[in-house]
C-alpha cells in the first residue's frame, strides 16, 4: 500500500512535469509564432484575407492568448495533440502510424546493447586483461563516432560492397539488421562504460572480500554480488539511454531511409509544421516521464535499501 501511494505521488509529479513542458512549449510558440497559412500555401501564394482568417480561426489562432492556452492544455490533457498544418491529420494519428517502426528498431537495439554490456562487464570488470583493453577502446570509439557514420559504414560495406543485407527497408528481418546494429553500437558504449565502472567499484567493496573468504569462485562473485550493483546505475542512465536512443533513431532512420518518428520529426521541422513538432516534443516528454516512473519501481526491486523500512 506504501508502494501504491508513492506510485500515485510519482504519477502526479510526472503529470506536473508534462504540464510544465506543455506550458513551456506554448510560451515558446508565442515568442516564435508560426503561420499555418504560410506552411500550407507557401510564402508567395496569393491567399485572400478571408481565407487566411478562416484558416487561422480553424486552428484557434484568432483567440486571445489565455483562451488559446486554456484550450491547448485542455486538449492535451485529453490526449489530443492537435492537427498538422501540412497533412491535415491529427498529430496523434501521425505519431501512431509511425511509432511502431521506431519502437521495433529501438527495442531490438536496446536489447542487443544491454546483453552486450552485461557480458562485457561480467567478463572484464576488476581485471586487467587484453579483452578489457579491447572492449574499452571499442566503447570509446562507440561513444565518439557519429551514429550516422556507423550507419554509412555498415551500409557501404555490408550492403553495397558485400551485398549481405538489403539497402532499403523491405519489411523483412534482414533489413532490420544494420539499423539495429547501428543504434545498438551507439547505446552500448555509454551503457557498458557505466556498468563496468560500477562493477569495478563494487568489486573493491568489503562485502566482495567477505564473499571471497567464503570460498566463492570469481564467477559466482561477479554473478551473484557484483552484477546487482552494476544494475543500479544501468537503470539510472536509462533516461540517458532513452535520449541517446531517440536521437540515434532519428539519424538511423534517415541513413537507412526507414519510416518512423525520426522521419516525421525531420519533415515537420523542415516544413515548419509546428503542431507536429510540439506534438512530438510532448510525446517524448510523456515517454520520458513514464520511463522515469518505471525506473523508480525497478530501483526498489533491485535495491532493498530503497524500500520502505519494515523494521
Amino acid at each position: 500500500m506504501h508502494i501504491a501511494r508513492e506510485l500515485f505521488i510519482r504519477i502526479l509529479a510526472g503529470a506536473a512535469v508534462l504540464w510544465a513542458a506543455a506550458s513551456l512549449a506554448f510560451a515558446i510558440l508565442q515568442l516564435f509564432p508560426s503561420d499555418p497559412v504560410q506552411v500550407i500555401y507557401g510564402a508567395d501564394s496569393s491567399v485572400t484575407p478571408e481565407l487566411r482568417d478562416a484558416i487561422r480561426a480553424d486552428f484557434g489562432l484568432d483567440q486571445p492568448v489565455l483562451v488559446q492556452y486554456q484550450r491547448f492544455v485542455t486538449r492535451i490533457a485529453q490526449g489530443d495533440l492537435g492537427i498538422s498544418y501540412q497533412q491535415r491529420r491529427t498529430v496523434t494519428s501521425i505519431i501512431g502510424s509511425e511509432i511502431g517502426s521506431t519502437l521495433t528498431l529501438a527495442s531490438l537495439a536496446v536489447l542487443a546493447a544491454v546483453v552486450m554490456a552485461f557480458l562485457a562487464s561480467l567478463l572484464t570488470a576488476g581485471r586487467k586483461s587484453w579483452l578489457r583493453r579491447v572492449l574499452s577502446s571499442f566503447e570509446l570509439l562507440s561513444v565518439s563516432t557519429p551514429v550516422l557514420w556507423v550507419g554509412i559504414l555498415l551500409l557501404t560495406f555490408f550492403s553495397f560492397q558485400w551485398q549481405l543485407f538489403p539497402v532499403v527497408a523491405d519489411g523483412g528481418w534482414r533489413s532490420l539488421v544494420l539499423p539495429v546494429a547501428t543504434l545498438a553500437v551507439a547505446v552500448f558504449g555509454s551503457l557498458s562504460q557505466v556498468m563496468r565502472e560500477e562493477m569495478d567499484r563494487a568489486l573493491e567493496q568489503p562485502f566482495i572480500l567477505t564473499a571471497r573468504t567464503r570460498g566463492l569462485s570469481e564467477w559466482a562473485i561477479r554473478w551473484r554480488h557484483a552484477l546487482g550493483h552494476a544494475l543500479i546505475p544501468a537503470i539510472t542512465i536509462s533516461t540517458e539511454t532513452f535520449g541517446g536512443l531517440l536521437a540515434g533513431s532519428i539519424v538511423t532512420e534517415q541513413v537507412f531511409g526507414r519510416p518512423g518518428l525520426g522521419r516525421i520529426t525531420l519533415e515537420a521541422i523542415t516544413n515548419h509544421d509546428i503542431p507536429v513538432v510540439m506534438g512530438i516534443v510532448l510525446f517524448v516528454a510523456f515517454v520520458f516521464v513514464v520511463l522515469n516512473i518505471l525506473a523508480d519501481l525497478l530501483y526498489r526491486l533491485v535495491d532493498p535499501r530503497l524500500r520502505v523500512s519494515t523494521r
Binding site: 516564435f32 570509446l140 565518439s144 557519429p146 551514429v147 554509412i152 559504414l153 517524448v284
Partner: protein
C-alpha cells in the same frame, strides 16, 4: 583502517626543477597521441591551405569519383572535388561549433547553476524543475526543435547545440555548488567568521569551476557529434560547404560506386571526438587525483 594502502606523506617538498618535468614521461601514450591529433586538427582549422593546398570548392567533372591516389589522397567526390581538401577545410566548422557551443553552454550553465545552488529555497526549486523538464529531451532532439524555431544555418546550429547543452551544465554546477557549500572547508570558513561573499568567491566558485572546465572538455566532443548529425539531417550549413556531416549526406547516393566518400569525413569526425574525449578524461583523472 586498511594496511594495504600506506599513507602517502611525500616528505620531500616539491620544487620546480628538472624533476618537475619528469612527469611528462608518465603521460600515457594514448593521451600523447590524442594531443598530437588535436594539434593537427587545430592547424587544419587555422591554416587549411597549408595542409591541403587544393581548393575544396573546385568542381572537376573530369575527375569525379576517383579512388584515392597520390594526386587525390582521399579520392574525389561525385562533383570531382578533392575530398582530402574538403575534409581538412571542414575542421574549422566542427571545431568552432564544438568550442563555441560548449563555451556558451558552460557560461550560461555556470550562471544558472550558481544562482540556483547559492540561492537555494524556492529559486533553486523552480530552476531545477525547469531543468528537469528540459533534460527530458535528448540534446540532439532539442537542438532540432530549436532549429525548427530559429531556422537553419551554421550560427543557428551553434546556438541550438549550446541551448540544448545548457541544462546539463547547469545541473552539474548546481550539484557541485551544493557539495562545496556543505563541505567541511566552507563550514570552517564560517566558523572562522569569514564573510559570506568572500567564502563564495574564494572557496565555492573556484572549487565549482575546476570540475566544470574538465567536464566541458568532454562536452566539446558531444557538441561536435551533434553538429555533424544536424548538418547530415540538412539543418546546418548549406551545400557546398565542406562540413563533415553535410559531406556524408551529399555523398550517400554514391556509396555503391565510391566507398571513400563515406569513409574519410567520418574518420576525421571520429578522430576529433576521440581525441578530445581522451584528453578530457585524462584531465578528469588528473583532477580526481587518479593519474
Amino acid at each position: 583502517m586498511t594496511d594495504l594502502a600506506p599513507e602517502v606523506t611525500d616528505s620531500a617538498p616539491r620544487r620546480w626543477g628538472p624533476r618537475a618535468f619528469s612527469g611528462l614521461r608518465r603521460v600515457p601514450f594514448g593521451v600523447a597521441l590524442a594531443t598530437l591529433v588535436v594539434i593537427f586538427l587545430v592547424l587544419c582549422a587555422l591554416f587549411p591551405e597549408l595542409i591541403a593546398p587544393k581548393d575544396p570548392y573546385q568542381l572537376s567533372l573530369l575527375h569525379s569519383l576517383r579512388a584515392p591516389s597520390l594526386a587525390f589522397p582521399f579520392g574525389t567526390d561525385q562533383l570531382g572535388r578533392d575530398i582530402f581538401s574538403r575534409v581538412v577545410h571542414g575542421a574549422s566548422y566542427s571545431l568552432s561549433i564544438g568550442l563555441g557551443a560548449t563555451l556558451i553552454a558552460v557560461t550560461v550553465g555556470l550562471l544558472v547553476g550558481l544562482i540556483a545552488g547559492s540561492a537555494g529555497g524556492a529559486v533553486d526549486l523552480a530552476f531545477m524543475r525547469i531543468i528537469d523538464v528540459l533534460l527530458a529531451f535528448p540534446a540532439l532532439f532539442m537542438s532540432m526543435a530549436v532549429v525548427a524555431l530559429i531556422g537553419k544555418g551554421s550560427l543557428n546550429v551553434l546556438l541550438a547545440i549550446a541551448i540544448a547543452e545548457i541544462p546539463r551544465y547547469a545541473r552539474i554546477v548546481r550539484s557541485q555548488v551544493l557539495v562545496v557549500r556543505q563541505s567541511g572547508y566552507v563550514e570552517a570558513a564560517l566558523i572562522l567568521g569569514q564573510r559570506r561573499w568572500v567564502t563564495l568567491l574564494r572557496h565555492v566558485l573556484p572549487n565549482t569551476i575546476g570540475p566544470l572546465i574538465v567536464l566541458s572538455t568532454l562536452g566539446i566532443g558531444s557538441a561536435i557529434l551533434s553538429s555533424a548529425a544536424l548538418s547530415y539531417l540538412g539543418l546546418g550549413p548549406k551545400p557546398p560547404t565542406p562540413e563533415w556531416g553535410l559531406m556524408l549526406a551529399e555523398g550517400q547516393g554514391y556509396l555503391r560506386k565510391a566507398w571513400w566518400i563515406g569513409v574519410f569525413p567520418g574518420i576525421f569526425a571520429t578522430l576529433t571526438v576521440v581525441s578530445t574525449t581522451v584528453l578530457g578524461r585524462y584531465l578528469k583523472a588528473l583532477s580526481d587525483g587518479r593519474a
